[in-house]
Each structure stands twice: as C-alpha cells, then as structure tokens.
C-alpha cells in the first residue's frame, strides 16, 4: 500500500457484548484498517454487521474487548486525562437520526456552543460570531440560532448536527449514516456540505452507510463488512470496478439501478437466506452459509484478509 499520512488506525479490533445465558455477541470480530488525513473511508454493510460499533469504538465510546485503536500513532485507551480531552476535540461524530441527536430543550446556539465552551475560552461576542459563522458554513442564516430543534426540518437538523461537530474544529469525523433519514434532494445537499468542509479543512472521515452509490461518490477507500468481519477492502474505484468477494458482488448487484433499460432483476446475483445471528457464530468463513461457492475449507477455517495487489484486500478462500 502506498505511504499515507495515517490519522486513525484500527488494529485487530474486537468488540464483544455479553448477552443472556453466558452467550457472547461478536459485534466486531478482528477488524484492521486505517484512515489517512484528508481521506474518506467508506464502511458499508447490512444492518447488524458491526459498522456503527466500529465507528463508536474508534471514538472511545466502547472499550474494545481486544485490539486497539490508535489516533495519530497513540493508543486511545492509554490517553492521559489531558490527552483524552484533546482527543474528544479532534474527533467528532455526526449521528444518523437528526431527530434524536439534538436536545429538544436547547436552542440551536446552545447546542452548537456546548462543545465550544468545553474546549475553548471564547468571550460571549466571539462565541456568537463563531456560531453565526458555522451556521453560514452549513447554509443556514443567523435567525436559526435562537430556534429550537422542533422548528427545523430533517435536513436542517442534520446541518445543525454537522455544525455542532465542526464547532470544536475537529480533524476527524465519524459520519454514522448521516443521510439515511433524509430525502434524496436533501441527501445531496448534506453530501455536498461534507465534501466542501473536507476540502477546506482536510478532515478525515469515516463514512458509515448502507447507501453504496453515495459511498462510492464520497470515499477514497471502501471496506465491506459482514457479520463483524471485514470481507473486502480496497480503493473505491477498484472495489466498485472489480469486486472480488462473493458477498461484495452480491451486495453491489442488489442496488437497484435507476435505469429502466438496465434489466436489473435478471442480471443480479441472488443471495438466499438472511444474515445469521452474530451470537455464537460457528468457526469458518462467516459468509459460508449463504455463499454459492462455499467449499469444505470455508466451513472449517476463517479466511484472512490477503492483499491481491494494488491495495485490494479480500478475505476469501476461493480467490
């Protein structure tokens, strides 16, 4: 892989949660990847594949069961108090649901201001100027500062979520399905905004989404997760042009094409069954129960990510 200015690296991250009767839910199972400064890493997969848990673990919301997350080369679980404070300023999150992530009793200005008060010592005037500047940056006017979240539409709320994340001048933002709850035309507005601030500030993004065409549009690198494991990871051009893993192929071909002549239904790869439960997964490849090419080896040992050249890594025995 070419030299990159690595900002975040995730090494053998495992995130297990205990459930009833002594069983263990393996939400994330041995995931390794890195994100460079100014780069967008797209994490895709179906619900329950552990993509959000990975994002939360990177920000230190969960304590990893195994493995580590390094920010700027330092393990985030070994940060001192002061370093932790700095880390929370540098790394921010944009949440999926713009209705649930804003406190309904706070005005927009106090929502944006809360983080600034913790990390900076602005005077009242400076803070107000900064809030107005942020609102302008996300395409809202100053009048919104005194409003409450319920007065705003979904797209406007998502902009407030972005303004709040930008308020502390972060270097890295985890975008956890930022557009899933929005209409098509509003989605484009939010994506444009994210791209614009990235160009200005060279943010690193972890872009978690199940919208594969948006991920293609915004990301330089893409990782595909299935049941807690990374099954394929490559530069985005490469993975969309030549997906190798059977799951990636099936996932990409399941996206309906907005073209009536494409004859989507007959060309796509059909997957039978559904994603199995992540509780007490059997050994072997996690995809083998649904994989049309599974062999005996797939049921016995779990494949590891192998580099197929040009930074295209895939975890599959048959390739």
């Amino acid at each position: 892989m070419p030299e990159r200015d690595t900002l975040v690296s995730v090494e053998h991250l495992k995130q297990y949660f205990p459930v009833s009767h002594g069983r263990i839910l393996k939400a994330v199972d041995d995931v390794t990847f890195s994100i460079a400064r100014g780069e967008t890493f797209g994490l895709v997969g179906e619900s329950g594949c552990g993509k959000s848990t990975t994002g939360r673990a990177i920000l230190g919301i969960h304590r990893p069961t195994w493995g580590r997350v390094c920010y700027d080369g330092k393990d985030i679980s070994r940060f001192t108090r002061a370093e932790k404070m700095q880390f929370h300023k540098k790394a921010q999150m944009i949440f999926q649901d713009p209705y649930a992530c804003l406190d309904p009793r706070m005005t927009i200005s106090s929502i944006i201001r809360e983080g600034m008060d913790v990390h900076f010592s602005y005077s009242r005037q400076e803070a107000n100027d900064k809030i107005n500047q942020l609102l302008a940056q996300v395409g809202l006017t100053e009048d919104y500062a005194s409003r409450f979240p319920h007065e705003l539409s979904g797209g406007q709320r998502q902009r407030i979520g972005i303004a709040r994340a930008l308020a502390v001048e972060p270097e890295f933002i985890v975008c956890d399905e930022p557009i899933a709850a929005l209409d098509v035309s509003i989605q484009a507005q939010v994506i444009n905004l994210l791209l614009k601030v990235q160009q200005e500030r060279k943010h690193g993004y972890l872009f978690i989404s199940h919208d594969l065409s948006m991920v293609r549009h915004i990301s330089q690198h893409v990782g595909v997760m299935y049941l807690g494991s990374m099954v394929e990871m490559a530069p985005s051009e490469e993975i969309y042009a030549h997906p190798l893993h059977p799951y990636t192929k099936a996932l990409f071909s399941a996206i309906p094409t907005p073209d009536p002549d494409a004859n989507w239904a007959s060309t796509r790869i059909k997957l039978s069954g559904e994603v199995p439960s992540p509780i007490n997964t059997p050994p072997g490849c996690k995809f083998c129960q649904r994989c049309p090419y599974a062999t005996a080896a797939c049921h016995e040992s779990a494949p590891e990510l192998r580099d197929m050249g040009t930074g295209h890594e895939v975890a599959c025995h048959i390739i």
């Binding site: 179906e46 619900s47 539409s153 979904g154 797209g155 209409d183 098509v184 035309s185 509003i186 989605q187 484009a188 507005q189 994506i191 444009n192 791209l195 614009k196 199940h210 594969l212 065409s213 948006m214 293609r216 549009h217 915004i218 985005s236 051009e237 969309y240 099936a250 996932l251 399941a254 996206i255 309906p256 094409t257 907005p258 073209d259 009536p260 002549d261 494409a262 004859n263 989507w264 239904a265 796509r268 059909k270 997957l271 559904e274 994603v275």
Partner: protein, 340 residues
Amino acid sequence: MERLLEVKGLHVSFHTYAGDIKAVRGITFGVEKGETLALVGESGCGKSVTAKALMRLFDRTSGEILPGSEITFDGTDVMKLTKKELHAFRGAQIGMIFQDPMTSLDPTMTIGRQVGECLVIHQGLSMKEAQRQAIELLRMVDIPHPEERVKSYPHQLSGGMRQRVVIATALACNPKLIIADEPTTALDVTIQAQVLDLLRDLKQRLGTAIILVTHDLGIVADFSDRIQVMYAGQIVERGTTHEIFKECMHPYTWALLRSIPRDSQKGTTLYSLNGTPPDLLLPITGCPFASRCEYCMPICRQQLPPETDLSQTHRICCWLQHPKAPKVARPAELGGGMNA
C-alpha cells in the same frame, strides 16, 4: 385493458390547530387491471396520504377526504360506502402492505392467526380452515417451514420475514389491488431485492394490480409500468417508466433524477435542489415547484399550469410546455434533448 380504479379530483385535508393542512390537492388518476403504478416523491408530498385515501383509512378527527372527491373501484363508489360496507371492502378488495413490518403486525398474535384473521372475517372460514390456508399463503411468500412458523410471534422473525408475512396477509383474500406503501424502506439491500423479486413473481402469477408508493427511483425503474411524480399534493408528471426516466420534461423530475450520484462525477459537487417544499398549511398560488425551480417564469408564480399531453400516456403540469414558453432542453446528464 380494463379500468380497475378511478380517482377524480381527490382532496385530502388534515385539520390541525394551526389550520387545515391540504396534503392532497385535487389529483386525478386511474389504475388498469394487473398494472403496477408507482407514486414517487419526497416526504410530505402526499403519496402515502393518497394511498390511504383509496381505502378511506382516516377517521373524522384527523384527516378528511373533502366532498367532491370521487373514488371508484371496480364499479363500487368507495366514497358512498357505509362503515359496515367499508369493513367488508378493505382487505377483501384491496390489500395493503405498510412500510414498517415491525408496527404493522400485532405482537400478541401468532403469525398464523394474523394471516388467517382476514380469511375468517371476509370469507367466513373456521379458525382451523383459516390456519390451513395461512400455511399455504406463507409457503407462497417463500417462508421456510410454514407449518412451524404459523405458531411463532412477529418478534421471532427477522425484518425480511416479517415483511413476507405482511405480504401474505395482504394477499389472503385474493385482492384485485395491492397498495404497497414503501414496502422495502426498512429493509437491507439484499433483503429488499428478495422482497421485490417476490412481489414481481406474485404479480405475474396472480395478475394483481399494485400501487407502489416509494421515494426510491431505483426500485421504480425496474418494477413499475407507469410512474406518477408527486410534489406538494399534486401530480406534476406522469408517464410510462420509460417516459419518466428517458423523456421526462418536468424540472422537478429532472432534479430528482439528477440528485442520484452517477459514476462519472465522483467527488464532485452533487446536483442538489435548494429550498424546501412549500408549506401545505398555506394556499399555493401558481406552480407549487416555482420557488425552487431554476426555469421559473413570472407566470409560474401566478397561475397553476394546466396539464399538457406529451403523448397518450405522458402528461405534465408545467408552463414550459406552453407554446409561448422558451424551449428548455433536458439536462445533459439525463441525455439532453427535447421531446417534441
């Protein structure tokens, strides 16, 4: 082709403290036997309200279908049905598939009872006979081991399986029309593809007409025969699937199609519509899309554009179609060109 459903001048209003929200503003359309019609638009454009209105699923206190609206289904005047007749009509003549299978199934009833309930009510079957038929219905929607599944509760099934149960319930009485209100929005892509395959297959086997309500243009391209694009409670453009995707002429349809990311423009600024849809509490003078339209002319703000026929099936509400209006070509990424 034979007309199955005829809707004329449908108006639906919701009475709130702030005033009347006019969610659907005088729409007229029809559905032929066995065809699939898609209603497409952003949230709040009235597509779900239209779908609900066809079965009169509003109580008096909230939504009201205004007098003067006509809904005729297979010769029956739906607006004139009494409460009792409505009960017999819903479920038996029209089946409904809702967006969220989590909330549209009763958590306290077994799958078998839920699917069979409709048969007991409409066809007067005994509970035992209904259960037997429920197993057949579950088999039809590809649920594995239906004999055991009839005894399980909704929470024991996954999202995709639950949506299959909802489809089985909608199909139980062999309705002539199925209204599918965002049937795959809550599902993952691979499961969405499975459910769409199932619906397509059932449509061919049973010849049921489907009204598909969705915001996802990708699904529509492959699934529907005709498309109606809705905006602020009105149908702004309608046509066959091919006409809407390849020959569309309404600036709003263009905007919808252009905001889908394409391979060629990676990392560049996506086309986006500015502004928000009009407030449905207020009266709309002129074209509802005027304030967001880049081709807006003075007349657009003053008078509602008439519906113009572009072909037998393709109709559009836009002043740009007026003979005196400037000729505007389709944006380049949609293939460019004019129609006439």
